[in-house]
Amino acid sequence: MIDNFLHGTNALFSDPFTVLIFVLGVFGGMLFGAIPGVSMLTLAAILLPFTASLDPAQGVMLFAVIYCTGTYGGAITAILFNIPGAPENAPTAFDGYPMTKQGKAGKAVGAAVLCSAVGGTASALIMMAATEPLAQWAIRNIGPPEIFALVFFGLAVASSVGGNTIWKGWLSVIFGLLIATIGQDPVGGINRYNFGTTDLAAGIAFVPSILGFFAVSEIFVQAERRAFGKYTAPKLSVDFPSIAELWMHKIAVLRSILVGFFCGILPGIGATLAAFMGYGEAVRWSKNKESFGKGNLEGVISSETANNAATGAAMIPLLALGLPGGALTAMMVAVFQFHDMEPGPLVFYNSPDLIWVVFAAMFYANLSILLIGFVETKTILHLLKIPFHFLAPMILLLASIGSYIGRGLVLDVIVMFVAGLAGFLLRRSGYSIPGIVLGLILGKIGEQNFAQGMQMVHYDLVAYMSRPICFILIVAGALTLGTSVYRALTANRASAGSSAGQG
């Protein structure tokens, strides 16, 4: 492995043009991740046609680097503006944004820098050491029933965070699942809920919905606060967390690396579920559960470690099985196809050079988060100084361009603003925006894998549950759900009792 890694490193740094692409990928991913309103997906969509003129290794490497640094960059907007750069940064905002409001933005961003680098580097190392055995294990043990079970578990976790009540948490997730049914059904390709228009046949595009629910709705919320005289500008601080503060959360980091890597390795799941589950597990194991969502540093650490730990793992199903784990890895498939290649087991034998250049680039990209992140962060934190009435139109316009570029449809810009309006109203009523987005992302994956799983076991639920991983995940999901309902009932009785006592 070390020989291969050194060979990949040599190939990466011996050619000046490859180095240039690497550096542009690192800065581009961080920058587009950190600009509110656009994301690494916007940059990837713009750059996709250009990769046709690059060497295949350079093209795939560029996207892999953008994936690593963009996942980190999205945390900055989540923390500073409550606008996650990508869905995988949504749980980061739960505690990151309250920290900004408390004047601790520097601490939150500093923790995100370090934990993204640690999670990503650990993931890259495991990926290099174990891609082939892990891929073999995944082929043998992970099928559609297991993926559906994990989706169920993930949705159970998502419903228990965000939303004023467990019911609103679930209504949010269900709303997302319902939006995901618009478009063709994944088994028979039958058009569903196109309401007589052909534009909706391809379904609701993913990027505009995310930008609308996260970025546009946040602008509307802040504009409302401004109109009612309640707007307070976030406080600028560049105090990074101390080593001792971060060391206190070492267990959370290790747990999130494991959770993130496991989620990342499963085809179709990607970093989003990893972040939610990393955050959910941090809450579950914490002795101070009530402090989450109010500016607990561990919330930022868990979410950011987990989502970056998924980046290396997400390359395993992509490279070993040809199955993308998310929107950006799906674009990497297109990069392969531009060069008449198909990602899959044969890539390891036919193009080992490409694989090791990509692996080495991901390793160094994660290290560069640590090196460049702290320097870049101090500059980016000054974005908080820009008055809201100048920043808001910029964010709305960037989001419009980000939505339009993916498919070149004005409809997507309209969808984005409608999603923004819906998100604004739902947030005002105590619903969970990350819950809606996770439902939207996992809806199609869940349905497809449920259908395939059912066909595999001939619709026999006993056979379905007799698969060990499936059984564990379904039971874990049911327990998560049951526990949150039980807690809701007992907590409300307790609060009713205490208020009666006070009266």
Binding site: T165, L171, I190, P393
Partner: protein, 185 residues
């Protein structure tokens, strides 16, 4: 009725409408799929059934506790606007601010990005309370130049050009300028 308010009933009504509309429309694609027992409607209808169950749970919760936040919830939005005095002018301002982006989105197809964007930017800044004309024009110009520089000149990203004259002609002029600029380097 317990702690149920008019707002809770509207909320219930909206969810019920969504459930009914989606269920009614599911008959439009109620086709069997040979290889899949549950067909195209199985999954959406299962989601709708869950929606109804959770909707009932929600209204029972609201009957008992009103709009109270459930203790121990994580990642909830803080709402300190409930008790705030809301003057009509501020409400109208918010309605205009929310409607403006929708109008901008609708205008992109006929008018195009290049012509619609400066007007949109100017109006957003105006609605957010900026009244100094120099700042309004200066910031609008700055944002426009930054966006054009990044997406048109640097990244060559395709943006909506519009279909109606003279807006389409303006877009064509911008693109011609860009081409000439690219040729200079």
């Amino acid at each position: 009725m317990g702690n149920i308010t008019k707002f809770h009933l509207i909320e219930l009504g909206l969810w019920a409408t969504i459930a009914v509309v989606f269920f009614a429309y599911s008959f439009e694609f109620n086709q069997t799929i040979e290889i899949y027992k549950f067909g195209a409607t199985g999954w959406p209808r299962a989601i709708l059934a869950m929606l109804v169950v959770v909707m009932i749970g929600n209204i029972f919760y609201q009957k008992a506790h009103g709009s109270a936040v459930q203790p121990g919830r994580v990642g909830i939005a803080d709402d300190d606007l409930t008790e705030t005095k809301k003057p009509l002018s501020a409400i109208l301002n918010i309605i205009a601010f929310v409607a403006l982006p929708l109008g901008y989105a609708w205008s992109l197809k006929p008018i195009g990005f290049y012509a619609a964007t400066p007007v949109f930017t100017f109006l957003v800044i105006l609605l957010l309370g900026e009244r100094r004309v120099r700042w309004l024009i200066g910031i609008t110009f700055l944002i426009y130049v930054l966006l054009i520089g990044l997406f048109m000149v640097f990244l060559n990203a395709p943006l909506p050009q519009g279909t109606v004259s003279p807006f389409y002609d303006f877009s064509a002029f911008m693109l011609r300028m860009n081409t000439q600029l690219q040729h200079m380097f």
